[in-house]
Symmetry: C2
Subunit: 454 residues, 2 copies
Amino acid sequence: MKNTRKFELTEKEMPTQWYNIHADMPNKTLPPLHPGTGLPLGPQDLVGLFPMELIKQEVSMEPFIDIPEEVLEIYKIWRPSPLIRARNLEKLLNTPAKIYYKNESVSPPGSHKPNTAVPQAYYNYKEGIKRITTETGAGQWGSALAFAAQFFGIEVKVFMVKVSYNQKPYRKSMMNVWGADVTPSPSPYTETGRKILAEDPDCPGNLGIAISEAVEMAAKDPGTKYSLGSVLNHVLMHQTIIGEEALKQFEKAQDYPDIVIGCFGGGSNFAGISFPFLRGNLRNGNKTRCIAVEPTSCPKLTRGKFMYDFGDSVGLTPLIPMFTLGHDFMPPKIHAGGLRYHGAGAIVSQLLKDKIIEAASVNQLESFDAGIKFARTEGIIPAPESTHAIAQVIKEAEKCRIEGTEKTILFNLSGHGLIDLGAYDQYFGGLLHDYETTDEEIRESLQKLEKIAV
Amino acid sequence: MKNTRKFELTEKEMPTQWYNIHADMPNKTLPPLHPGTGLPLGPQDLVGLFPMELIKQEVSMEPFIDIPEEVLEIYKIWRPSPLIRARNLEKLLNTPAKIYYKNESVSPPGSHKPNTAVPQAYYNYKEGIKRITTETGAGQWGSALAFAAQFFGIEVKVFMVKVSYNQKPYRKSMMNVWGADVTPSPSPYTETGRKILAEDPDCPGNLGIAISEAVEMAAKDPGTKYSLGSVLNHVLMHQTIIGEEALKQFEKAQDYPDIVIGCFGGGSNFAGISFPFLRGNLRNGNKTRCIAVEPTSCPKLTRGKFMYDFGDSVGLTPLIPMFTLGHDFMPPKIHAGGLRYHGAGAIVSQLLKDKIIEAASVNQLESFDAGIKFARTEGIIPAPESTHAIAQVIKEAEKCRIEGTEKTILFNLSGHGLIDLGAYDQYFGGLLHDYETTDEEIRESLQKLEKIAV
């Protein structure tokens, strides 16, 4: 293995099943609750929004689910993604640790998001759906769904938070190139949007409003479904292709990770890289530490509370058992837009509650500093989200140096930062800073939550 | 090979030599001439600008040159690049042709440029050089050199055409992340720049001025050398790693191209993909057609003249025997900035003169239309430069459909368009148009050239 840098799989070696960790969890997740009645949700409550196959996957207890042939064909455009030994970063850190990363930035939209966008588009297509609505903040998810849906002739309507629509024109352009229709939200196309615009024509929008618009449009039209890019069980499961590939690649490397690290927004990229390794912990007594890394300014895992909360900010979605800061919590405007989310998916929350995974947090400035160290050694400019994972890797690798332990560390490079270069500019210009989230703020936001009658 | 999409090589299978086509050419290139004396240039004339190893490569007649171990190590960050069968595009075009592309967009800077930036930085490093100057227009070359030089601790000073510096902030940001110093040109740091700014403080700059500034700074400081991203023999040779890999990948595909297509600016990506296949033509009597595709608005290959001309617009560089429109020719502002160059490298020009390669031209609107077809079938958004190759591929594939011939077509996807999405926006907005270059314009520009005393 001397000097080998990339551990690659051929198309033929690509895993053909996703891993459903729910089957192996000692404690299953609590059921989601209907936002109106507070009663456990049945599959029929979701039929208006999702195709039946995804609803089945959402509640499945099968440990493995076959990836359809048509999905594998599209995965092959960029998968299997390489596992890379970060030899230059190791050298810079002068650490005995071995650092590997899974490079998910190689997908055409530049992130791990298409891993679930493609199967979601496929299952909708199989059930005759001609149109999907979704929301997007910074645009990573919207562009992944636009990319995926075109292969199945499905129209995509993206509600993009208006302030991002104006600030991040390149993401909107990507969606247009792939044929999606992008509307700044709030929009005049939904009741929610019209109501908000009537009150405040200059409303800059937020993710909660965009979700409401996308859900409303899908709910009102039987031929239209809705799609979400993180949080839900089936979304996290689709991402396990990342870790399943990594398992095979570590065989080729004749190595195995002691530590697996992923940044954390709703949980999808962290789940994707870590769940297949957690299988080894749960079934075979392996001791791989899996660390979810969030921004210190949005600390649901490290400082939030485990309770039922809405998936959106408005209160339209089912109540999910999760680590949360309260759906009213407004994260500061850090550049890692994909990590600005108040809660965590149900499975990841249960795993954290049961101490099967760990959580850590990283500040904005140290994350950019880590991102630049990575770009200047490994050559790839990471997305602001991914820099959080890198910052944690550096901490662990430095601990190895101090302790003189040769640990094997794996992290997920969830995306590249080529569409986020403005953020790096601001960092170099000294315009970025860290945000302090006080205990008071978190307590207040959670107090409102406790008043929800469930 | 049924359904195989990607033909990949492992790191171990990566070619370890570049191919120098000059060795196999029936007619060698005419010698470059000194801009002052008009006499053939000797190696000593270039010592101030380039390290000796690159000067040797520039004039070498060895058919193969070993790629240094240190360069191979960095190539491995993104190489070998995949050869991909464009099955979805074939389906869209309903053609019996088989279409393959070499995906050079997978490099961290997003284009083929690092294939030469890395060895250029390496040979400078080996000779103790601590600083390199270069110019960049849209920023592809500057970012590739910034990426490459950091691995060898070399400082890079990029003179970026001022109008691009202001219009394309993301390219500048990329260079900053990789540690390069980027200055809008004309700048106050050179005599050339100061003189121009004194006359016109608002001068928007152009590539000719930027070259002059970079060359002046390198020439005045013995510890500083200069680097160029295309045109020169050694630059084209470094790019042959693309075609050498493709040769091995076609063995795996059990196929061989009848037609090889690359877009054409100064010649480097076209040379990279085609020269190794031309070796089969020159040595073994193969009949692969190699087509260089230029914009119709900058038609040096299809409507220019073969004569001695300067490499830059100002007249500081040696005189090179080339197909040219005249160094005064001002190409219209098409979005394929990398193809806006008045001339062609000496080797490619000689090959065209000897009818060993072919040339074709494509309009701006048809190139964007082709780029969108590609993005919506193969999923990758191509650089505006690369869309010219794709447009030609579509023409050839349609000819195959009409004639019912099953040809194998290979093209080079020289880069992705993620930093150029503004151009796609303008296309969708109906803001782009084609440019007519009249015979009169070309004649005028060439007439001035004929007055150069050589």
